[in-house]
Symmetry: C2
Subunit: 408 residues, 2 copies
């Protein structure tokens, strides 16, 4: 029998009525003849409320204990979901991550899944049970409770789907699927029927916010088809799957805007080998992730080095630049938090030239200055002033005719 | 190093301030040179709130899933308590029952502890950590989460104290200790310095409500001294310990009143062997516990059989009596929910005669009719009309001079 993993996010289980609605969707899948594993998140604001409890007790709670605390949220959800399925007359059994053997490393609050012991789940599925598993959490070899980071219930769902060789992993959420651009910004953004893993990965990491990057990576690695759909309506949503040839007819699948980053520039850096590595190494040692990096050809033995980091890391990064600027012989350190990254993504770019030119021309027509440019095989990103970002996104959506139905 | 187990009930961890106060008491014990294991209950009304969530989903939630749900309450408490100890600069680590190996049978919602694997706790104590353990819960051999029944965090504390060979188990609660009678009813009820395990067992099962009977049984079985004290003041409370000779000078240690039971009577039962067994067997098969049983000498081959059950079981029990009354040849089945059981308890009764007489005389002086009488080696109980119960309790407290300081 084929197995389907269905994940329900926090808003999809926020009230008793929603838990019941989710249970009906699970029941329909079971009654259609599939084995079902449901992965559920903590309800609504539970995680925030638990954080508040912690901070009432301590300004800097231990990460191990935060994980013990937070994991209780999903434990509540799994029990309620099992009860809701029982009320529909279906056999169901709930498991915490510890019970079902989701083994992680020991990095509390951002643990990585090492392996899943699927034997208990398989046994329960064979007995006809619907299996309900707590998302977001894991357990170390030493039986310590861990959590996988915000939004990581998607990752739990995909890891389970991979471990069980599931036919499909369905992410039931509070949006209708993946759009050509954020519909809150671009009015005529269109819901995509299909998108490739690679395109979704670029969009996920570009701040589209629909899916967790690690979940998409797992889906790609284990080739598990992934469906993103609304918990609140019956439409099929968006299928995230392996790239097929017809997808290449579409040059740009979608556009995204990310306002979570800030820009740093070190001016007048000596243009000689090893300097960039020294600067970025200093940043990396502070555990700060650098996204875009741009260095132009130098003039008179000097160059400018710009890069972007998360806004929350800006102060620390700037302090580091000021600390080392004399050491590396640079002239000045500057920062700008008021930027946004605008990107277009599509596997068709691999075989179609002229996308960058078309993108830059569109921004020029809007009189929007491009501060940094970065490209990958299937993506082009530009940094622009934050105030121009929504207009830039709309212009790109229009230029690449993303509102039009795909021909493929 | 000596180990002390400190248990904190729900009201003792209901708010952030109370968690911090409890942490200070644990810290003081640790700083006095003891190894400390703290057992904590779910906070304040958490358990009731979780029940409400369950009943919003299903009118009769599965007991296995109720246990998964309820166990999240203590998980929240242990994490917060560990954080509070960290904030005081002390090393502490929290464990759920599953993590610390509190293995129970599979009777969900009322599981019995089979064994405790103390190895992880011992390892952590040896490393200087304060160990925080979730009360009320356990785990089956198959890693299913169980709970031990309401109030059973006391039982967890005693079982851990026994497993670790602790020097003392301290129950920190919302009352100051064990009183000669319920101070809400008897104004001059006196706090006891000491009470024997056997006396405490009788009082616990008589509805004194301070301690869980199973906890006292464990304390007696493993000879762990038990201290009941207030979480909110520094007084030492009451020591529950092995009987020592001087205790026998006190004939009556305390008096108790229990209004949770109801009386059933089957009138005109044939006075022949096997009939009582047949009647009570019918009740037992409905999983109803019978407390007092009274059968008088018959007249003309007939007798009346009376017994008490929990008020919540009264309807079921009466239905059973009506069902079998013709079968056993009885004349009528009657019930009375408006009764109360009044008891006096003391190990000194073993060696002192005349307690019953003194008790009955006191009730007679108050013009209170005795409906049923039951005695054990260290206890005498009378069933009286519910409306007379507080007056009866006060009269007995006065008659046995329980307000006076013990001479022993």
């Amino acid at each position: 029998m084929s197995t389907i993993v269905q994940k329900f996010g926090g808003t999809s289980v926020a009230t008793a009525e929603r838990v019941k609605a989710a249970a009906r969707r699970i029941a329909a899948t079971k009654n259609a003849g599939h084995d079902v594993v449901a992965v559920v998140s903590a309800r609504g604001n539970t995680t925030d409320e638990l954080y508040e409890l912690a901070y009432e007790i301590s300004p800097c709670p231990s990460e191990r204990e935060l994980d013990v605390l937070l994991a209780s949220g999903e434990q509540i959800s799994i029990a309620l979901m099992a009860m809701a399925l029982h009320a529909l007359g279906l056999p169901a059994i709930s498991f915490t991550a510890a019970q079902v053997g989701i083994v992680t490393d020991t990095s509390h609050t951002k643990a990585k899944i090492l392996r899943i012991d699927a034997s208990r789940m398989k046994r329960e599925l064979e007995q006809g049970n619907i299996v309900i598993v707590a998302g977001f959490q894991g357990v170390t070899e030493d039986m310590d409770i861990t959590t996988l980071g915000r939004g990581a219930s998607d990752t739990t769902a995909l890891a389970i789907a991979a471990a069980l060789g599931a036919e499909m992993c369905e992410i039931n959420t509070d949006v209708r699927g993946v759009f050509t651009a954020d519909p809150r910004i671009v009015a005529n953004a269109r819901l995509l029927d299909r998108i490739s893993y690679d395109e979704m990965l670029e969009l996920a990491s570009l701040g589209a916010g629909v899916l967790h990057s690690r979940a998409v990576e797992l889906a790609k690695k284990f080739n598990v088809p992934l469906r993103v759909r609304s918990s609140f309506e019956e439409a099929p949503g968006t299928l995230v799957c392996e790239e097929v040839e017809e997808m290449e007819h579409i040059v740009v699948r979608g556009a995204a805007m990310d306002t979570t980053e800030a820009k740093l520039t070190l001016r007048g850096v000596p243009d000689k080998p090893g300097v960039a590595a020294q600067i970025l190494g200093t940043i990396a040692r502070k555990n700060i992730s650098v996204d875009m990096i741009v260095q132009n050809i130098g003039r008179e033995g000097k160059t400018d080095l710009s890069f972007t980091v998360k806004k929350s890391d800006l102060d620390t990064a700037l302090k580091e630049l000021n600390r080392i600027k004399e050491e590396v012989g640079a002239e000045a350190a500057e920062s700008d938090p008021r930027i946004a990254k605008i990107s277009v993504v599509g596997v068709g770019m691999r075989s179609h030239a002229g996308v960058a030119e078309k993108m830059f021309a569109a921004l020029a027509r809007e009189n929007i200055n491009i501060q940094m440019i970065s490209t990958s095989e299937i993506k082009i990103s530009c940094v622009v002033g934050e105030e121009n970002a929504p207009r830039a996104l709309e212009a790109l959506h229009e230029t690449f005719e993303l509102d039009k139905q795909e021909s493929g």
